[in-house]
């Protein structure tokens, strides 16, 4: 599909080529350049992460010190509490993990790593970000309408979410669902671009098995998202109808079916986990091969297991619903498929460990993040086995055990994966090296408190502590000294962890201003983005590269250098 790579600037592109004449608005706000859009997604995602983190801080303070006047927030009322918990979940998944891992890294990396000058549909790409920004504004505006932000959990189960007399947020609940719906439109637009660009605009010579793993992962994730999102969008529209027009799709009093929403939601919701997981797995693959100077142990195995994970992820959704009154016969089926899906994921982990084995490992900051991803995600995966088995889940359901489990999956994905990617590609994005010393300080300051937040929650959950409860002092069995101590430990660790994020932002800014200049290829990596200037100009390369080999040819015997860039002719 060589005709899709415009060698002459097309009319729509023309004005972008005169950088000097552009105003701030047309260069940074209305740009069609994939790198600028990636940065817009990333900075919006980071801003939302700060908001989501602040929400976590506010409600964790309430749990550890009930009734306290929380600094920078005030008294957390019960309505505040449920709204904070709900929006923390939704923001971290839909407005942090998705935009940063898929949209930001996808936009930045796909054209650079497959060797083309921009996305195939640059204007759709720009529209995608604009729609995304609108969705973020709609979500945040839900806090300022009458009744306040929606507090019926990010899963928005009806009838609680469907009836204003139950959730007490007549407008907030619709704005919440509407924001999620708008956001999905943004990612559908983005997904079209990612898949088309990666499949049609590859550099000459780049065969399917020469595509870097992170690009494959983002493409597979985009396909998963596009296939799964339909039922939820339809369900969301029905839910808004229930809220505003008083229809009865989910109202059992009038023949509706609340379990239908759970099916529609989780048919999307579970693949969504893999939508955000796969890009993080791909980022890890890039980093561990570079910093262990070894070929990825089994490229095709990782690719096939990713596809297998994707297919299986559509067959497991009802494991979220074991106690919601689904047919017990189906619980057997979904237990089986849920336990099956751990096999491809475990296989990926084994491939990564085998890649590390015997490698010349350099413990740089990105490598530390990548190793932490493998280790922490493993804990998340293993505790998922307890919950995937329907028998154990009947006890564990909706306890803090579930909460700790999915934070051990989502934190490695959304936070560790992002930090791994940002620290690894920072030299390419901004042309400067990040401080390794500050990076390591930030790494340990994040990872150690993270474990101290969530390991106590496993114990609390196994001890019977349920989720979404405002004040445990009302429950004598849960208000004991030991349990409260664990809650305080988790909260204090959270505050420490959030405090250490200042180091990251300080490092980010100080490296931008005074960082050591990064050459084209500071990590001595093979993939194409490292053959462009740092930062790459508009259009990425003067002459588009040609590819001669796969992306992971490190330490090839008989070669002087231990890396072999993809575009280097023998």
């Amino acid at each position: 599909m060589a005709e899709l790579i415009p060698t002459q600037p097309d009319p729509g592109h023309e004005d972008d080529h005169h950088h000097g004449e552009q105003s701030f608005v047309s260069k940074y706000l209305l740009s069609t350049d994939h790198k600028v859009i990636a940065m817009q997604y990333m900075f919006t995602g980071m801003a939302m992460a700060l908001i989501g983190g602040f929400m976590a801080y506010a409600f964790r303070m309430q749990l550890a010190f009930p009734g306290m006047d929380v600094p920078f927030f005030g008294i957390v009322t019960p309505a505040n509490y449920v709204a904070l918990v709900t929006n923390h979940g939704a923001i971290m998944i839909f407005w942090v993990a998705m935009p940063v891992l898929i949209a930001a890294f996808g936009n930045y990396l796909i054209p650079l790593m497959v060797g083309c000058d921009d996305m195939v549909f640059p204007k759709i790409n720009r529209l995608s970000y604009q729609v995304f920004l609108v969705s973020a504004i709609v979500l945040l505006s839900s806090f300022f309408v009458e009744g306040g932000g929606f507090g019926g959990a990010w899963t928005t189960y009806p009838p609680l979410s469907a009836k204003a007399e139950y959730n007490l947020t007549p407008l907030g609940s619709s704005l919440f669902i509407g924001a999620v719906g708008i956001e999905f439109i943004a990612f559908l637009l983005g997904g079209i671009n990612f898949i088309t660009t990666a499949m049609n605009s590859r550099a000459p010579g780049m065969k399917l098995y020469d595509i870097p793993m992170v690009i494959w992962m983002i493409v597979i994730a985009s396909i998963l998202f596009m296939v799964s999102v339909g039922p939820l969008l339809a369900g969301a529209i029905m839910l808004i109808f229930d809220q505003q027009l008083h229809t009865a799709f989910y109202d059992p009093n009038r023949g509706g079916d609340p379990v239908l929403w759970q099916h529609l939601f989780w048919f999307f919701g579970h693949p969504e986990v893999y939508v955000v997981l796969l890009p993080a797995v791909g980022i890890t693959a890039e980093i561990i091969t570079v910093f262990s100077r070894k070929k990825l142990f089994a490229y095709r195995t990782v690719l096939n297991t990713a596809i297998g994970t994707g297919v299986l992820s559509f067959c497991v959704w009802a494991h979220h619903q074991f106690i919601s009154g689904i047919d017990p016969r189906m619980a057997n089926v979904f237990t089986l498929t849920t336990l099956l899906i751990s096999i491809p994921i475990a296989e990926m982990m084994f491939v990564y460990i085998a890649t590390l084995y015997g490698g010349a490992i350099r413990l740089t900051t990105p490598m530390l993040w990548a190793l932490a991803f493998i280790f922490e995600f493993l804990i998340g995966g293993v505790t998922g086995i307890f919950l995937g088995a329907s028998g154990a889940d009947i006890y564990m359901h909706d306890t803090y055990f579930v909460l700790a489990h999915f934070h051990y999956t989502f934190f490695p994905i959304a936070i560790i994966g992002t930090y791994a990617g940002v620290t690894y590609w920072f030299p390419k994005m901004f042309g400067k090296m990040m401080s390794d010393r500050l990076g390591k300080l930030h790494f340990w300051g994040t990872i150690i408190p993270f474990n101290f937040i969530f390991i106590p929650l496993f114990f609390l959950g196994a001890g019977g502590q349920h989720r979404r409860i405002y004040d445990f002092q009302n429950f004598p069995a849960l208000a004991g000294e030991g349990m409260q101590d664990l809650r305080i430990l988790a909260t204090v660790s959270l505050v420490v962890m959030l405090g250490f994020q200042v180091v990251f932002f300080y490092n980010f800014i100080i490296s931008l201003m005074r960082g050591e200049k990064a050459g084209k290829n500071p990590w001595k990596a093979n993939t194409l983005e490292w053959t462009a200037e740092s930062p790459p100009p508009h259009g990425n390369w003067k002459v588009l590269p040609t590819v001669y080999r796969g992306p992971y040819e490190y330490s090839v015997p008989g070669r002087e250098k231990d890396y072999w860039p993809q575009d280097e002719p023998n």
Partner: protein, 125 residues
């Protein structure tokens, strides 16, 4: 190009005629009230009609192969979703998958309960 267009145009009328004939069969078949004839004429012919519409009216036959793959994938996922939820959403022991339990459990008792019920049943078929 214009010749091709002409060919399509004649096709449309022919296909429409075939669809009308099939419609007549699918209406007439169940009238015999023999179970297997009803199944074949109602559902079997619906599949044939859907295939013809997709292939000819929606031009899937002329589209690149992957369009077919995308469509088949969508159908597979739809079937998967229905298979996973059918046992909750529909009840095999109800009246032909009409969710009768929710009806008698939650409906406020009314005088003509049986009649109303029957009417709702008819509608659902």
């Amino acid at each position: 190009m214009s010749e091709e267009h002409e060919e399509h145009h004649t096709n449309y009328v022919k296909i429409w005629a075939i669809l009308v004939v099939l419609l007549a069969i699918s209406v007439a078949g169940p009238e015999l009230e023999i179970l297997w004839i009803t199944l074949i004429t109602a559902f079997g012919i619906a599949f044939v009609k859907a295939y013809i519409v997709v292939q000819k009216f929606m031009h899937l036959g002329d589209a690149p192969k992957f369009v077919t793959y995308v469509m088949v994938t969508c159908l597979v996922f739809m079937m998967l979703f229905i298979a996973g939820t059918a046992s909750d959403i529909y009840k095999s022991n109800g009246e032909n998958w009409y969710k009768i339990e929710s009806e008698w459990q939650y409906m406020p008792p009314v005088a003509q309960h049986d009649e109303g019920h029957g009417a709702a049943d008819e509608e659902s078929h």
